[in-house]
Amino acid sequence: MNTDKGNHDSIFAIGADGIDTEAIVERIRAAVADKMARGAYRDPAVVRAERANLLCSSDDETFFPYYLECLKEAAAVDINDYEIVEKRRFMAGAFIALKKAIWHLLRFYTYRLWSQQNQTNAMLVAAIENMENRHRARVRDLEDRIARLERSNKTA
């Protein structure tokens, strides 16, 4: 029997001899990638939740590449990703119209600020990535040299 729900249609078949969890996880990863591209996880709650995950990763080799990926994802700020809404029922239409008018007036200045911010973010990410690559290579080189020196000291 199929248990299709929401975004996870046809992922698995209940009653099969074995459950292919690999296939379920692959489908979930594809669904997450799709939703991520649509901005479904651009939410302060998600950023807070990943705090400990980043901290846990910080002691191994995977931390920086992963952190850089997160930074790249976040660097390009999108200011058109929301709809102008009004929670109050009373004169909701009028309030929305007023908000849209204010947004229309401020848009020119906001876009300037936004493009400058995106430019700065992109440059910062590129600089950090470059520094990381250079430092990683230098540290590796230094570690190799120390190991060689220790070996030659022992044999001397």
């Binding site: 248990t3 996870h8 209940i14 979930i28 998600v46 995950n53 002691d59």
Partner: protein, 398 residues
């Protein structure tokens, strides 16, 4: 006729109540199985309870417990804790230690001259010395001193301690190594070389057996007055086990999904909730064995957020209770269990966690089928009937 008739187990702590981790439980279980097989077993340990202070809290001397004889020895009190912690901090920051620093780390970790003295006097009385886990000074010095008789049960994790020179030398020199899973053995091969680990015939995958049990899935929620579905973690609550991440993920889930769900945390260690999750997190502390099983049986899912596991005993227990699992994908061991059993899903990030929890909560039939698959897997691979022959063969072989 068994070749390993007399076996001494060496482990810095003997598990009693909340004061032990999975490695200590594993060593005790193996010792009990050997004793039940009619072999002479002695368990050598220290008087310590707390693995941070290593204070001598229990009386030294012999004691009979769990059908085996235990002898407790005092931990050396002259250790320089400050120097030890300073080096440990550098090590945990992935800073390469000099030989002097590594020496400081090993000399000032948990050690017991009294236990070593006993081994020096009596080691010839034993055919095998089974020791673990790998990262303590006491185990490293004993395993290195008696390498020809040592059967190491490392409980190895991919962490900075595993890269110490002394640890590497121990892995390369002991008589036999008993791993809990094929993934743990692969990690050792990656760290210390394929030839000395895989090709030498010294390494075996043994693991730990579980006794089958049944538990009432409604009992725990009724006792604790939990009206909503709940997910469960049981074990030590500390950053190394990933519990702060689990609490953060759960808080975000409650905030975003807006559906009734509780997180039950059982075990020892501090729990720090977030404002988003504090009303939905239930800290029940250390549970008696039967209540823990009931909590597992009633959970919508068992969540194991740790990246550092060599076996994952609580995951196997949750499957024995018929409950599906969600695990941290960064643990190769836990993810492989889930893949092999068809009984759990693994997540790398919050979005995957969110999707997987929702999938399980929305599909009771999937939960049931995965839980049953988990129980079948544990009975097949990790019952004592399956593990005991692997253990005894590994101890008896030359």
């Amino acid at each position: 006729m068994p070749k390993a008739k007399a076996i001494a187990f060496v482990c810095p702590r003997y598990p009693q109540g909340a004061a032990a981790g999975g490695a200590e439980t594993l060593l005790r279980s193996l010792a009990v199985q050997c004793a039940r097989d009619g072999r002479k077993v002695l368990f050598l340990t220290t008087c310590a309870v707390d693995h941070f202070t290593w204070a001598n809290e229990l009386p030294e001397g012999p004691e009979d417990r769990d059908g085996i004889q235990i002898i407790r020895f005092p931990v050396n009190t002259d250790r320089d804790t400050e120097a030890f912690l300073a080096v440990q901090s550098r090590l945990c920051s992935n800073i390469r230690l000099s030989e002097d620093e590594e020496d400081t780390f090993l000399k000032n970790g948990v050690r017991s001259d009294a236990l070593m003295q006993f081994l020096h006097e009596r080691h010839a009385d034993f055919d095998r010395l089974v020791m673990g886990p790998y990262l303590f000074g006491l185990v490293i010095s004993a395993a290195t001193a008696f390498r020809d008789r040592t059967v190491l049960v490392p409980c190895l994790h991919d962490e900075p301690f595993a890269r110490l020179k002394a640890v590497r030398e121990m892995f390369l020199s002991v008589r036999r190594i008993l791993f809990n899973t094929a993934e743990e053995m692969s990690l050792a091969a990656r760290l210390y070389g394929e030839a000395p680990i895989l090709s030498s015939g010294r390494a075996r995958v043994v693991g730990m057996g579980l006794d089958p049990f049944e538990a009432d899935p409604a009992a725990f929620a009724k006792k604790h007055n939990i009206g909503a579905p709940y997910i469960l973690y049981a074990g030590r609550r500390e950053p190394l086990k990933g519990t702060p991440m689990l609490i953060d993920y759960f808080g975000a889930y409650i905030e975003r999904a807006k559906r009734p769900l509780a997180l039950v945390l059982a075990g020892s260690g501090r729990v720090e909730t977030t404002p988003a999750s504090e009303t939905a997190v239930l800290d029940v502390g250390f549970l008696a064995e039967q209540e823990k099983r009931e909590a597992m049986a009633g959970a919508a899912a068992f969540v194991h957020p740790s990246a550092n596991e060599s076996l994952g005993i609580v995951l196997l227990e949750a499957w024995m209770a018929g409950t599906p699992a969600l695990v941290n994908a960064r643990s190769a061991v836990l993810a492989a269990h889930c893949r092999n059993a068809g009984a759990g899903l693994w997540f790398r990030s919050y979005p995957e966690f969110e999707e997987e929890i929702t999938l399980l909560l929305d599909n009771p039939e999937l939960r049931r089928a995965m839980g049953e698959a988990g129980r079948r897997y544990v009975l097949r691979e990790y019952s004592w009937d399956a593990v005991r022959p692997r253990l005894l063969a590994a101890l008896d072989s030359d």
